[in-house]
């Protein structure tokens, strides 16, 4: 099983760095120190490899998210902990997060997008449900749940994108994202920039 893991790791690194379409199967095999038939033995196709890469890193994130959702907290704390889960996931594996994010926004008819689409919808619906459950605290939302949900995901993703750029620019190590930073971002989302 060691080869399988190494192939997944190398594929993730390359997809992250240059994107699914720009990376050839041969290059992945070379970097993993195996040959193409071995790769195809485990994953069947290039797309199958991508799906395996995607699935691999997601189980823990799912668990963290559902834990937050099931805690029965108010919307403020739910949003904060959700954001914290996203940040923790990002910090645990930046390459995975960034790869996922770029697939999130990739062309609709690209086969790689088709592969991430189910996961995108999964997390989007989870986000929508946060706001639906909180309609008591938010008043009549007149169908704005979706706008809130997408705005929330967008805010987090862009915060992490900025964080990523800053880390790339920084010379030293990568400091952990502070709790107060996350509270600041979520606070900005909830109360606006004048708060």
């Amino acid at each position: 099983m060691e080869n399988r893991t190494r192939i997944l790791e190398c594929a993730k690194d390359l997809f992250y760095a240059r994107g699914y379409d720009a990376v050839g199967v041969q290059e992945i095999a070379d970097r993993a120190g195996i040959t193409k038939p071995t790769l195809y033995y485990y994953f069947g196709s290039k797309l199958g490899l991508l799906k395996a890469v995607l699935e691999e890193g997601l189980s823990e994130f799912r668990r963290m998210l559902s834990q937050v959702m099931d805690a029965g907290l108010g919307i403020q704390e739910t949003l904060y902990r959700t954001a914290a889960a996203y940040c923790a996931f990002f910090e645990k594996d930046r390459k995975y997060y960034m790869m996922f994010m770029s697939l999130f926004y990739s062309a609709r008819e690209n086969e790689a997008y088709q592969a991430v689409r189910p996961y995108v919808m999964e997390f989007y619906r989870a986000s929508v449900s946060i706001f639906e459950r909180a309609s008591g605290q938010l008043g009549n939302m007149r169908g704005r749940q979706e706008q809130f949900a997408i705005g929330f995901i967008g805010t987090i993703n862009h915060f992490l994108l900025l964080e990523f750029e800053r880390e790339e620019a920084a010379t030293g190590g990568t400091p952990r994202i502070g709790e107060e930073q996350i509270r600041s971002v979520v606070g900005q989302f909830m109360y606006g920039i004048f708060s």
Copy 2:
């Protein structure tokens, strides 16, 4: 010059639908009804073609943005008009906007990303400057201009992404984005979701 324009148009359509790397030069040429050497005569390389596509649709958007920036308005109205400019640009050419957006988030070492990077930075800096100029109204921002700027761009992009998905799902025509919708999104950004 008619061929040149048609090549640009077809390239945009295909890059939008399937992404830069997944589209071959041959396919673009076929669709435009010309041959590869003609394409290379005008654009020199595939990357040159992408750069030309990018540059093509941007001049008007630049003009709209700088007009807003030079109006000397308060931050609220500036943000609203900036958002409106983004929305107008989106509505004028959805394919271009979505293509640009997916390039925005694509892998850092992908050559297509290198091509959009300058434009991304251009609009990012413009957004930062909005918040820098408004420090009087926002109080001591302690370096949060960047967070505001990226959050603002993220909010708009995700709103338009949602809009795009809704339009795709809708059966009828695509209604224009209403002024009150834009005000709602910008209001959410400025005053939070409880407003």
